[in-house]
């Protein structure tokens, strides 16, 4: 189990966003977190990545308790995420956006920076090579010097995923990566994610609404509704489950 959530609850004032949810994600799985809007999926992400503290429960990463850890420290433990509404750094190129992902991997001190010690040059070179490789793998190498936010929506998505990959994660959290994409782009994305999973030996946990996409991609899903787990298991069984169908009535994209 690379990721384990034990009895997680989260209240915001009077609202219970998540109630006693537990699940586990195995290494190299592509795990889907699905459910109608407002079910608590992004909240779950925020708890895993340390942006929120759960009201109850624990988050374990490879057995290590990361529940109360600060968000930037969790990245160093190997968890990276993307955002629903793509948050790239607007003043920087694609290359620089990715290099920021490598921040905790690129090791040289402030002092060494000012006086341009050799370690600065070797570390920068290594990191640059690594991210150029990532860009090549994701098909965005041609944009490396462009302003990240000037790219098309689909490419910006890729940059965000690439940036998350640059942090050398073991676990990648993707928040609605296929949002706003047409079926062709979605298919491409699914293939890309398979490729990434294999090539970088990582586990992927994603939030999605597109059932066809989820069906194609995910080994296992967890269905949330109003903060409660209503199903966990294979996606094929999920779509015929009564509770799941009820929850999605009106929200369903037929597979």
């Amino acid at each position: 189990m690379i990721l384990e959530l034990k009895n997680i609850s989260k209240h915001f004032g009077g609202v219970k966003a998540i109630s006693e949810t537990s699940f586990g994600v195995k290494k190299n799985q592509i795990f889907g977190l699905i459910g109608p809007n407002g079910a608590g999926k992004t909240t779950m992400f925020n708890i895993i990545t340390g942006n929120y503290n759960p009201s109850e429960g624990e988050v374990l990463l490879n057995g290590k308790n990361i529940t109360k850890m600060k968000n930037y420290k969790i990245v160093r433990e190997g968890v990276a995420r993307t955002f629903q509404n793509i948050r790239l750094f607007s003043s920087m190129s694609v290359l620089d956006n990715l290099l920021i992902g490598m921040d905790h991997v690129t090791k040289y001190t402030y002092f060494e920076t000012i006086f341009r010690f050799p370690r600065y040059f070797s570390a920068e070179k290594r990191s640059k090579e690594y991210v150029l490789e990532i860009m090549k793998n994701l098909g965005i190498l041609e944009f490396k010097d462009e302003l990240a936010t000037s790219l098309s929506y689909g490419n910006q998505r890729k940059v965000e995923i690439a940036r998350a990959l640059a942090t050398k994660p073991n676990l990648l959290l993707l928040d609605e990566p296929a949002a706003g994409m047409n079926p062709n782009e979605t298919k491409e994305l699914a293939e890309l994610l398979f490729k990434i999973r294999d090539e970088y030996d990582i586990t992927i946990l994603l939030i999605e609404h597109d059932m066809k996409f989820v069906n194609h991609l995910c080994d296992e899903v967890l269905v949330l509704d109003y903060g409660k787990t209503i199903f966990q298991g294979d996606i094929k069984d999920a779509i015929v489950d009564e509770e799941v169908i009820k929850a999605y009535l009106g929200d369903f994209k037929h597979a």
Binding site: Y72, F89, M92, G101, M102, D103, E124, D145, A164, T167
Partner: protein, 339 residues
């Protein structure tokens, strides 16, 4: 390698300019150039925390004051101190403080940085725009402390007869060093992290950046060079007092970096030349004004009004300033890529 040669050429040209200027220009122009050099140091430092890291701060006048006092006290001989201190006897600590120019300037920087790090902890721990208010208040407090501890600072009287031991080589040279340090920081993972904090602090944290640490680095670095700049300013002026480091100094720097382009080092340099050079020219506004034959009388302070209007207009209509966030070198790079 190409880049290194280009850098060496630039520095060589710069020193060549300094040599020519020091030896051939008149006193008045040299004074203005000295002023410009010092303000370049202050502006590129201020730009680091405000423009590059995006944290609105009003710190310069406070740190400049610290630097000015530290350097002055370090350069004044023991005898001088006995002579100058009129309100109270100088404290033994002050009497013992005797340094040469370079250690004095270095100590100025360190002193400012220590204070900055102390302020950084309560302020950066917390989200919100408290940095501006805290640094604004800090500027006032420094003045209060300077006035109320005459055994350290000679109180409201201030210090004079500070040895005038610098020239354009010093101010220009240190300005060049400061620019190089700033550029080295910006073109590194620390600079990238600072810009990330500016662009989207929460996303930066989500990518693994310790935002509090980065802000502290930027703030401390700005403070250091503002302290050094303060030391140079004290020597240039040869006389300082608590009244000298008012908010207007910070305001001038703010206009400079906004006009030049928040976040751009080249912009800060360009802005300094325009504003400090322009200040001389705008001095006429503080005197009697005759426009199209009508005498409007003298209104001291009109210059300040014009400055504030310029700032507001830039913020409302040309927020990016002259350079935006780009550096001069970016324009050269673009051309090279297009070949």
């Amino acid at each position: 390698m190409n880049k290194n040669i280009r850098n060496i050429v630039f520095i060589g040209l710069a020193f060549g300019f300094l040599f020519l200027a020091q030896n051939s220009l008149d006193q008045y122009t040299i004074r203005v150039l000295n002023n410009i050099a010092i303000f370049i140091i202050l502006a590129v430092s201020y730009n680091l925390i405000n423009g590059v890291t995006g944290q609105f701060s009003l710190e310069p006048n406070g740190f400049v004051a610290i630097g000015a006092y530290v350097t002055s006290l370090a350069l004044l001989s023991e005898d001088m101190k006995w002579e100058l201190f009129q309100l109270e006897d100088p404290s033994p600590l002050i009497l013992a403080l005797n340094l040469d120019l370079i250690p004095a300037l270095f100590l100025s920087g360190i002193a400012a940085t220590v204070v900055a790090l102390t302020l950084a902890f309560p302020v950066f721990r917390v989200r919100g725009d408290y940095l501006a208010i805290v640094t604004l208040g800090f500027g006032f407090i420094i003045k209060v402390v300077a006035i109320n501890s005459p055994e350290f600072t000679n109180g409201a009287i201030g210090l004079n007869e500070i040895p005038s031991i610098i020239n354009l080589y010093w101010t220009g040279g240190i300005a060049i060093i400061t620019i190089m340090v700033m550029l080295n920081i910006i073109y590194s993972k620390y600079g990238r992290a600072m810009k990330a904090v500016r662009d989207d602090e929460d996303a930066a944290a989500a990518i693994g950046i310790n935002t509090m640490k980065i802000k502290t680095y930027a703030f401390g670095t700005s403070a250091f060079f503002e302290g050094v700049g303060g030391g140079l300013l004290a020597i240039l002026l040869t006389t300082i007092s608590p009244d000298l480091f008012q908010f207007f100094l910070t305001f001038q720097l703010l206009i400079i970096i906004v006009l030049g382009g928040l976040g751009s080092m080249s912009g800060a340099i360009v802005g300094t030349i325009i504003v400090i050079g322009g200040t001389e020219w705008l001095r006429v506004l503080d005197g009697p004004i005759t426009l199209f034959g009508t005498d409007y009388g003298a209104h001291p302070g009109l210059r300040m009004v014009v400055f504030s209007i310029i700032l507001i207009i830039v913020m409302l209509f040309a927020r990016e300033g002259i350079m935006g966030k780009k550096e001069l070198t970016d324009f050269f790079k673009k051309k090279k890529d297009q070949k």
